[in-house]
């Protein structure tokens, strides 16, 4: 008994030493801050798993930003180099990734991952290393009440404010036309639920009755029973707090039950390029909030759409724009502060962003002390075979169709 035990102990010691040797060598290559060196930007993104679809979109946005900036001579005369790790949509991984990027790879800057669930843990890593953290996807309220001082959300509005224009519009309708009952179904995800509940709060305050309120976990695949409940309650309007596939599934399940609401609003899913095909082109009248439009008149947007299309052979969507915007925000801070490395520089970047406004492809952004942006989303609607901006009035491409035609 004793001798195998001792042998094991040796084996443990040996393997631990080997581990040290194996990992110690590759540790500090990213150091050294000469001005000719590239600026290395560390990113962890969900390239596989639940959020791989939007994750890849954000990745393209980052890549477009790096390429467009580098073609113009880089930042502070230094080229931008992206170091992207895959976090499998997994909170354990995302923390280990940023730990590795900051501690081991010694990247100069870090920017955020996708999905609110992953933003909070990764922002904490960045905070504890004293790094600036601009992120493209943490839109839910709880991101901003964690007391982060280093976090900035690079988009026009947080989730709860996405439907503000729609709520105002509906409540301004004459009493006879206003929808009187609404069904809500939301994924148990801070972002998706935030959009639906933001609208719910405003409509309830305006006297519109809630008849169904369902929350489902992210891995739900069978929407038959949720749809059955909604269809049985026969509300005027259905609101889906969805990501992508869940929104598609819910719409298909509702259509299988032949339920025809006067208004249907779903977050995220309807703006996806695959959406129409996924629900068999029965898209008529579906509403969706969006933070980005290719036709938006902001100065840098035209360049972005043009060069992005040239680089990827397709026009950018909201996820891509979010990634690009994040790059623009970090880039502006770096230009203004005149530095990009770990250490004191990070605090300069943070201070600059807290007191300035940045022009981006989604408009001018500024933040409050918690890093929350101050704005609202546009509302789009599927009309014919195209999705068009219908709200707010000053940006609309078409008039809102209400009540919506049958799907």
């Amino acid at each position: 008994m004793r001798s195998p035990a001792r042998r094991t102990t040796w084996a443990i010691a040996l393997s631990a030493t080997l581990f040290l040797a194996a990992c110690g060598g590759g540790g500090d290559e990213g150091g050294g801050e000469k001005s000719g060196d590239p600026i290395v930007v560390g990113i962890s993104l969900p390239l596989t798993g639940d959020f791989s679809e939007p994750g890849k979109g954000v990745q393209e946005g980052y890549e477009a930003w790096a390429k467009i900036t580098n073609d113009k001579g880089g930042l502070l005369g230094r080229q931008i180099e992206l170091k992207i790790l895959d976090d499998q949509s997994n909170a354990d991984r995302v923390v280990a990734d940023y730990e590795q990027l900051i501690g081991s790879d010694q990247v100069d800057l870090v920017v955020g991952p996708f999905s609110t669930r992953l933003v909070v843990p990764s922002a904490r890593v960045a905070q504890e290393y004293g790094m600036l953290f601009v992120e493209p996807a943490g839109a839910a309220a709880e991101v901003f009440n964690q007391g982060f001082k280093n976090l900035f959300y690079a988009a026009p509005a947080v989730a709860d404010d996405h439907y503000n224009h729609l709520a105002e519009h509906l409540l301004a309708l004459p009493a006879g036309q206003r929808p009187t009952s609404v069904a809500y179904a939301a994924m148990d995800d801070p972002f998706a639920q935030g959009t639906a509940y933001g609208l719910k709060k405003k409509l309830e305050a305006g006297g519109v009755k809630t008849v169904v309120d369902e929350v489902y976990p992210p891995n739900t695949t069978d929407f038959g029973s949720i749809a059955a409940k909604i269809a049985a309650a026969k509300p005027d309007m259905v609101v889906g707090g969805s990501q992508y596939q869940d929104g598609v599934n819910l719409i298909v399940a509702l259509q299988q039950l032949n339920y025809q609401p006067k208004l249907a609003a779903f977050s995220t899913a309807p703006t996806n390029p695959e959406f129409a095909k996924a629900i068999g082109n029965k898209t008529e009248g579906i509403l969706s909030p969006t933070g980005y439009s290719q036709d938006a008149p902001y100065p840098s947007n035209k360049e972005f759409v043009e060069k992005f299309t040239a680089q990827f052979g397709k026009a950018p969507e909201e996820d891509q724009a979010n990634g690009y915007t994040t790059g623009q925000v970090v880039g502006a801070a770096v230009q203004a502060a005149g530095c990009a490395e770990q250490g004191e520089c990070q605090q300069k970047l943070i201070d600059w962003l807290h007191s300035n406004t940045v022009d981006t492809v989604v408009g001018s952004l500024k933040w409050d002390a918690t890093g929350k942006p101050q704005g609202a989303h546009m509302i789009q609607q599927w009309i014919g075979n195209d999705i068009k901006i219908v709200l707010p009035a000053d940006a609309k491409e078409a008039d809102m169709v209400y009540p919506k035609p049958a799907w």
Binding site: Y244, G280, K282
Partner: protein, 295 residues
């Protein structure tokens, strides 16, 4: 109080779901009957078949149902190989435990390969008739769900006929009931056991195709199936095919009805509550025969 229409709708949805559960649980029961093996990878094969059906439709543009022409024989062969190549080589003393680990490992491998080949993105077959439905006493029955149910029902009936009416079914039942005696009367139990496994896995191929018609699939989905299925076979009494089918219908219906007051997530717990209750009150299951008592 839920309306009558909603109740009827839920009952129909529950029966349609229960049919699929019954087919899959029948496969699991078959393995257990033959070798006392709990086949964790059963639902991984289910998802694999669903992916193959999706792929057939997405890449080749043909109806997903046609993929069964390939997947059913393929899975049958895989089942025979699995039994002959791996499970029958385990030490008999630790067979039950180790077979769980082996099939668990296979499930991980399948999940990993699916993720590697098709990525973790959720997939769904886009069918022309995907949103079609018809009216039945005021409830809506989706065409795709009905096709899935019909597939399950036909396969179960086929399985029943095969077990009761054919020479092979006779040999298989003999092998399940008393392998030593079966050998004595001249049945090649090894071969029969292998074919039995193939048959079990073929149910996964049919089930997967049925599943793919109306659900989103992703590689780790199989965990959400194996839990309810294992609960079903324990409640039904390990090793009893009719028991598993009855438990599947009852629990599928219960899940669907409980969704009305409890919501989708809590309703799923009915399987595990039933599982723990069965083990605490009646470990041999509610429909189980002689076999179950030993495990």
């Amino acid at each position: 109080m839920p309306s009558g229409a909603l109740l009827l709708q839920s009952i129909i949805l529950g029966l349609l779901l229960g049919g699929l559960y019954a087919l899959l649980a029948a496969g699991l029961t078959l393995y257990f009957g033959i070798m006392r093996v709990v086949m964790i990878a059963h639902s991984a094969f289910l998802i694999l078949a669903a992916y193959l059906a999706w792929w057939t439709n997405d890449r080749l543009g043909i109806d997903p149902l046609l993929s069964m022409v390939v997947t059913v024989p393929l899975f049958f062969g895989a089942g025979v190989l699995l039994q002959r190549g791996l499970l029958s080589r385990l030490r008999p003393v630790t067979l039950t435990m180790m077979s769980v680990l082996i099939t668990f490992a296979i499930a991980l491998i399948i999940e990993g390969l699916l993720g590697y080949v098709f990525s973790g993105t959720q997939r769904r077959i886009q069918l022309g008739y995907g949103t079609e439905s018809f009216n039945l006493f005021g409830a809506r029955v989706a065409v795709v769900k009905l096709i899935a149910f019909a597939l399950a029902a036909v396969s179960l009936a086929g399985l029943y006929v095969l077990m009761k009416r054919t020479q092979f079914g006779w040999a298989l039942r003999a092998t399940i009931q008393h392998p030593d005696a079966a050998r004595l009367v001249g049945i090649d139990t090894e071969r029969t056991a292998g074919f039995g496994f193939g048959l079990g896995l073929a149910t996964a191929a049919v089930g997967g195709t049925a599943l793919s018609l109306d659900t989103t699939i992703y590689p780790s989905l199989h965990w959400h199936w194996i839990g309810p299925l294992m609960a079903i076979i324990v409640v039904g009494g390990l090793g009893s095919v009719p028991g598993a089918a009855a438990a599947a219908l009852v629990l599928g219906l219960a899940q669907s009805l409980l969704q009305i007051p409890m919501g989708a997530t809590w309703a799923q717990t009915v399987f595990y509550v039933a599982l723990f209750a069965t083990l605490a009150v009646r470990p041999q299951g509610f429909f189980g025969g002689r076999l179950a008592q030993r495990f």
